[in-house]
Symmetry: C2
Subunit: 542 residues, 2 copies
Amino acid sequence: MMRYPLLLRSVLYRANTVFPEKEIVSRDFGGLFRYTYRDMFQRVSRLANALERLGLERGDHVGSFAWNNHRHLELYYAVPCSERVLHTINIRLFREQLVYSINHAEDKVIFVDEDLVPVMEDLVDELPTVECFVVMTDKPELPPSKLRNPISYEELIQDESDAYAFPEFDEWTPAIIGYTSATTGNPKGVVYTHRGLYLHCLTSLVGELGTDERDVTMPIVPMFHVNAWGRPYSDTWVGAKQVYPGSRPSPKDFCELISNERITYSAGVPTIWMGILQEVRNNPGKYDFSSIRVLMSGGSALPLSLTAAYQEELGVKLYQGYGQTETTPVTFVNVPKSSLDSLSDEQRMRMRTKTGLLLPGLEMRLVDAEGKDVPFDGKAMGELLLRGPWVIGEYYKNPEKTKEAFVDGWFRTGDIAMVDEMGYLQITDRTKDLIKSGGEWISSVDLENVIMGHPAVSEAAVIGIAHEKWQERPLACVVLRPEARGSVTRADILLYLEDKVAKWWMPDDVVFIDEVPKTSVGKFSKKTLREQYEAGQLGAGA
Amino acid sequence: MMRYPLLLRSVLYRANTVFPEKEIVSRDFGGLFRYTYRDMFQRVSRLANALERLGLERGDHVGSFAWNNHRHLELYYAVPCSERVLHTINIRLFREQLVYSINHAEDKVIFVDEDLVPVMEDLVDELPTVECFVVMTDKPELPPSKLRNPISYEELIQDESDAYAFPEFDEWTPAIIGYTSATTGNPKGVVYTHRGLYLHCLTSLVGELGTDERDVTMPIVPMFHVNAWGRPYSDTWVGAKQVYPGSRPSPKDFCELISNERITYSAGVPTIWMGILQEVRNNPGKYDFSSIRVLMSGGSALPLSLTAAYQEELGVKLYQGYGQTETTPVTFVNVPKSSLDSLSDEQRMRMRTKTGLLLPGLEMRLVDAEGKDVPFDGKAMGELLLRGPWVIGEYYKNPEKTKEAFVDGWFRTGDIAMVDEMGYLQITDRTKDLIKSGGEWISSVDLENVIMGHPAVSEAAVIGIAHEKWQERPLACVVLRPEARGSVTRADILLYLEDKVAKWWMPDDVVFIDEVPKTSVGKFSKKTLREQYEAGQLGAGA
């Protein structure tokens, strides 16, 4: 076969050649902006020419500090396809993590959304590598700012040529660099190669939960975090109509876009789906979700109650996927196999809470505390190890963390899981959140799911607390629905659990809290809870 | 990202890990054989162990001379995944082409289906490289044969271990070798690498016309020709139930399998679809085609009448794809875009006759006779050039033909095409004007050359004309020298050809014309001839 490299250029090429008439919608600062794939291709070409003019060399790092919008999409193509590297800066990182990651990546230019300029202004003095800032706005005049050498995006590309010869180069060339949203220490850099993104985004398209030309997609998962799960490439590749929800989107914005643009496919974290569900509940009859074919949830475990609510109240299928910053990210998707059709409705609903089936092209193992393989029998738990074309090989300029993350060439996910006879993986916990009680493992995630099934509970997080005899015992931190506060007690929760979990899994205590603390990307921060528990700041159990 | 190679092993791994319970049905010599993906994996492992025991080295060539059945499927995995190369010998080649290709490939062992043993017996004395033959049969005893060192397949694998550690190696390693069905000269060898097959078969799964776990697939396109369009890998990868139609399948066999196994997806050449349509017409009410989601046609242009008949008489959607031996094969698939939904039924039906949309990952150009690019405007025609990860880089041990087949690193398809503004390719002509008769190719140029050898003939053009059973048959349009006009007859021409061309190449008719219409650059305009023939304007055969 021909020595033909796997480059993101292929995605852009097909967009322009096969789907020139298809539409992209972007919620810009002044309202909805619409253009075609061909327009997008032309602006990407102009932007690539502008990057040359800015004096950026091949391999230089270009930062983006932006929401999900069409300019960010243009950066997703122009930067990597001109052999530069896009650093998708996670706007939700803490200040010191932002400074660390931009300096660690050595960004030369940063493209900033208009409304994020103040955040960047606050950092600019600590960012010596950044030579200029490009401000992305739809307004004719740049707002005054103390950014270094500010330029308007639209002015930057305005007079450039529509023609740009996208170069051919090695497929192992870096395309995007992102950083983990670590809860402790500095964020770790992950470099995504053209080859890795190509294979990840192509494989994500396979099967019932992939997208197609007929889909209207809206990536809610941010483009500043793990490549928006690859959607900006996958959806362009198949020619879907794409809707980008823009700056600081609210549940109302999402619901309006779903209704008005006839969204068929969207992807986001459970917190987003909870917010959207609440918005719909608060406004009965206002929104039309009938166009939806698939909603994908990922980033943290999808509670059964949420899946059920979407099914029953909205008539919409909410599916679950799994992945990590280190795996581009998607590695498992919960596709309901035909082999499950004979199960009862309830059994099938339970299967939907499993993490999913391994994507084509990957390999998995489960290993116990001694590193020995455990069988895929639906019972044995082990740490999930992964290999594959879009699994990290190292952390960027970080040999120490790299060493910790691998064993025999396999990436250690840090997640505890089991795999059943049908091939479905179930993540039972993070290795660090697992509760080790008397030599046995208790899954905090499983316990949380059962607790969240209680009608008065809106959120629950379970953490392990030190115990003299058993080493660790579970503590349930529960957020009650407003109307239940004060009436539902600790004893009610424990009674509810009695016939649903093993006796030795029963939490030693239940505390009621106002909300579960979240990380910068919306996941439960159990680290914060553990710290609060140790400092005695949690609310008392009623 | 991890240095993880793209190997067919990944397909096998996922089959066994994620879809162990799924079913494979094979029409064996004694009846239908059924087993699961897990059984298949175990037999593939045994077979790989047996290949070691036969003394085959890494890189050795192993021939298959077989129909679409489960043993052939096992060879598709065991041979390449143990780092050997499967030569899928095309049973439809002429005797001398068979001998040439087996010797050219230097096959060490050949696996032969029971009912094809007589064909191989006839060749064996001319195949010095073949050390032994493995006969594939479900009967306990091998039939007596004059094959060299015959072994029974079932005995070969019977006592081998179920455990085999499939090795990891470079993704550019050859997996399969096939030969073109050349009409003149020797067949040309095409080597398919693991990487090429991996990317081809993965990409074929993308979109509405890809298959999924819920499909029940039946590849009619033979496994001895261009990897059965990749189906044995694609369908296994997604865990579809697979049905292999076995030895010498008739239209009746296909119809029964479709009805009884509830086939949802099948792939074959137009001649096959014509035969199946006839079988259904001859037996009204006998068959149930309601399970079918997609039928794919390829290998030659799909007549509009056939598409319409399937739609109207069977309520079944027959789609078109395009590819070549040199391109693994699929490069275009006619997916009906949502942008076409507003067209009238008739317009949409016409769009279905177009060749299709370029698959993700490929690049195309159209060039005129001078090698200059022509625009994609739905009017300009040019030779189709292709690049991509599953496009040939060279012919096997054939530098001369390799040189002819490429220009500036692009593969010359030898097909004339245009591309419209919606991205749909339409093949308008063959550079060599091949005539497709019953799934085989007749070279019009070759026939013309022979006819023009007749002393009374000044010019001859051969065109394909529609034929109910064979799809196309050759019509010879002959210009006689002035002195011969009125004296040389149709019968004279046919008599002259009788000992010079194969019987099935004989033109169905000869018509005498005043001159062959020419294009602006002086080439025969067969398009004009075909139009004249359809309009009844040609002279009558004398």
